[in-house]
Amino acid sequence: MASSTRQGLTSALRGVTRTLNGKRPPLPKQRLQTLRLSGGSRCLSTESITPAKAIDIQGLAERYRIAEHARAVPVSASYFSRTPIFNDRYLALDKLARSYTNLPVVPPADAEPVVWKNLSDLRRSIGEQVKATDYADCLAIVRRLHQIHPDLKPDIVKEALDDFKRDVQGFLNRPVPIPIDKFGRALGVGKRKSSTARAFVVEGDGQVLVNGKTLVDYFGRVHDRESAVWALHATDRLDKYNVWARVEGGGTTGQAEALTLAIAKALIAHEPALKPALRKAGCVTRDPRRVERKKHGRVKARKGPTWVKR
């Protein structure tokens, strides 16, 4: 009987239980300390432990009574929607956007680049089936808030936006700048297919040594020679730098094109302003293509076996 009333009271007072339990129950460690070991004796006695006073439920109920007939009410009105958490955030963002609408903004291009969660990311992180249109509307607000001038952006806005940022921010990855050592060399590394090239680029008059040989001795094809020094050629720097390179793996074409990338990277270390020109010449991005694997039932990756009548 008493237990049933206690339960009913607790549920009725759910709104105020937090204030009631302001004083936390003692931690197990503290509880252990209360079990004092009697000096010298090896046995533990329970006499020192005094039981807690019984909670006067009835009195408490009298003191903190809220209403005659209390019932459980959800904290948020979104409780009854299909996506309560998202709804709450959306409303909070909307409120923020309205309250800070007068703050100065920067153009979108000048705002700090951020990768926002896409729809599936957001669904996964919240665990709710967010609608695509709702997501789009929400993200428009997010973007608008993100445009607020960084010096004036309130902390509350920053915290609210953090929920919408993707966990991995690619824009934060900064390549380590290639140093130029005391001899004036910059070391660039490039890869293509299964070849790896390391090129030391130093100011000079256009000499190239690949694995200790001249360009002519190392690459028999004129095309390979051209692609090896393409980064220098495309930027008119062929007579300004010398290259000493080490190439490993792969065939001649792969080695030549690995050299392109290596020399381009080292050249960017010398002259960072050349990067757009080199990108236009196709010397900046690594070509990710590799040999396609062979499949069973096929002669090569895709080639079918010869047709036989029987």
Partner: protein, 485 residues
């Protein structure tokens, strides 16, 4: 009502098809001639059918699947097949002028002193017509060189050329013999150096004897016979010597006609009284059998003591073939050393200094990189000579660190005879051209219309770098031989 003619086959009611070939069931169709037909093959009048002969070929010819295995003989006339040797002749032909190339106005002909004049460094100069003929007679031009791209043959005067021509001139003035080996990397212009030496010699009225490919002498592709009364046995190569005699005769016609013999040569079948022009002596051999004695007689006349003879240039291309054991076999089936072949021995003796040229001259041999047997002794000897020369110079590039390479004690492939020959030769290493010379070359190409690009600092540097530091052959490949218009 159905159409009078079969709609699926527009051919049937055509005029070309004879009545007999038509089915009887459509008499109307004969009168109606279709204005056109999509198939022409069936429109051909079939005469055999009219004459009543059996139709040729299969009834369903052209509609049957033909697999490769059962194909009939190749259809169509492929024209005349080339005669034996025609393809090779086409491959080996030498074209020295191109009428479509633009003549270069500032091109001047080489004079006798031009190749030795340092003022001509990095200039392109044309070979005079008579020198062209002489060089062609002694096969100095090669099919792999780009002579056929330009209006007339011209050469770049390089620093090495000036150096070599001056050495030749000094040797001739002092009646010494210049013994020089031209070596260098692939396509650096070693054969062209020999050609320039020959041009210089021809312009200065030397006698030039040139062996265009030494491998023809030592790879057992020409006849050989032991020379009687020689110990150890030497071998002559009569067919090759006859060819060489004819080449000498044609190349040195002007010089040889002015030189007269000093002694009678009783060993020759023809009588050669003294004071006969050497040209007649050189022409005395009509048969391969007589070639070697005639060549010996000619050589003895050219090197006669006391007589006023012009300087001689002995030149050869492909030295490595001369410095190995040849592919010929003795009667005992032993391999014959190249230096036991009489003609090779003569050249080797001259190169080694054993044979003196009384009126001076030069012995110049070029190595090859593309077609050369491995000759460790020659490589070692040339490296040694070069190192010694660098040591003597003591230049900044060779400050103290120059080590003269020594024999590998654990390798037994060395050849003492080769090292004896190369003990005291001079070595001229040919490298890539510098940028000034590269620019001269490219300007000449552009002026001839063969290089369609502006020749400026940038273009020159690009080709220079792409060709591994100005290797001229590679510059040609990068600039002239790649079809990029």
């Amino acid at each position: 009502m159905s159409a009078p003619s079969c709609l699926r086959c527009l051919v049937r009611p055509s005029a070309g098809v004879t009545v007999s070939s038509l089915p009887r069931s459509s008499p109307l169709a004969v009168a109606r001639a279709a204005p056109f037909s999509t198939t022409t093959a069936n429109l051909r009048p079939k005469k055999e059918v009219q004459t009543g002969g059996a139709p040729k070929g299969h009834v369903r010819s052209g509609k049957m699947l033909q697999l490769g295995k059962f194909k009939k003989g190749k259809a169509g006339d492929r024209g005349r097949t080339p005669a034996p040797g025609e393809r090779k002749a086409y491959r080996k032909r030498i074209t020295l002028s191109n009428d479509n190339a633009i003549p270069v106005p500032w091109l001047t002909d080489l004079g006798p002193a031009d190749l030795a004049n340092p003022a001509n460094t990095a200039r392109i100069m044309a070979l005079p017509t008579e020198v062209q003929d002489q060089l062609r007679a002694s096969e100095a031009f090669k099919p792999t060189q780009c002579w056929g791209m330009f209006r007339k043959p011209a050469v770049l005067v390089r620093k090495e050329t000036i150096d070599m021509a001056n050495r030749m001139q000094n040797a001739a003035d002092k009646r010494h013999t210049l013994r020089l080996v031209v070596s260098g990397d692939k396509l650096t212009g070693k054969s062209l150096m020999v050609l320039q030496a020959m041009a210089h010699a021809h312009l200065n009225n030397w006698v030039v004897i040139h062996i265009p490919e030494v491998q023809e002498l030592t790879t057992a592709c020409t006849e050989y016979a032991p020379i009687p009364n020689t110990d150890p046995v030497q071998y002559m190569q009569p067919v090759y010597v006859l060819k060489l005699l004819q080449a000498i005769r044609r190349a040195n016609e002007g010089v040889l006609s002015k030189i007269l013999t000093v002694s009678a040569h009783p060993e020759l079948s023809q009588s050669m009284p003294p004071n006969t022009p050497l040209l007649a002596l050189a022409g005395a051999a009509k048969e391969p059998d007589a070639a070697w004695p005639v060549f010996q007689a000619l050589w003895s006349e050219l090197t006669a003591q006391g007589a006023n003879r012009p300087p001689i240039l002995l030149s050869a291309d492909g030295l490595a073939h001369m410095m190995k054991v040849s592919d010929y076999r003795s009667p005992a089936f032993d391999l014959i050393h190249s230096h036991d072949l009489a003609l090779v021995r003569l050249f080797a003796d001259a190169l080694g200094g054993g044979l003196r040229l009384p009126s001076g001259g030069a012995v110049i041999a070029a190595t090859t990189r593309s077609n050369a047997p491995r000759t460790p002794s020659m490589e070692l000897a040339l490296a040694q000579r070069e190192a010694e020369a660098n040591k003597g110079l003591g230049g900044p590039s060779s400050s103290g660190a120059v080590e003269v390479p020594q024999r590998d004690p654990f390798f037994r492939g060395y050849d003492d005879r080769v090292e004896a020959v190369l003990r005291s030769v001079q070595v001229l290493r040919v490298r890539g051209v510098d940028k000034l010379e590269a620019r001269a070359l490219m300007e000449y190409w552009a002026a001839s219309g063969m290089l369609r690009a502006t020749v400026d600092e940038k273009a020159v540097t690009e080709k220079w770098a792409l060709s591994g530091g100005g290797v001229p052959g590679e510059m040609e490949r990068a600039a002239l031989l790649t079809a990029r218009i």
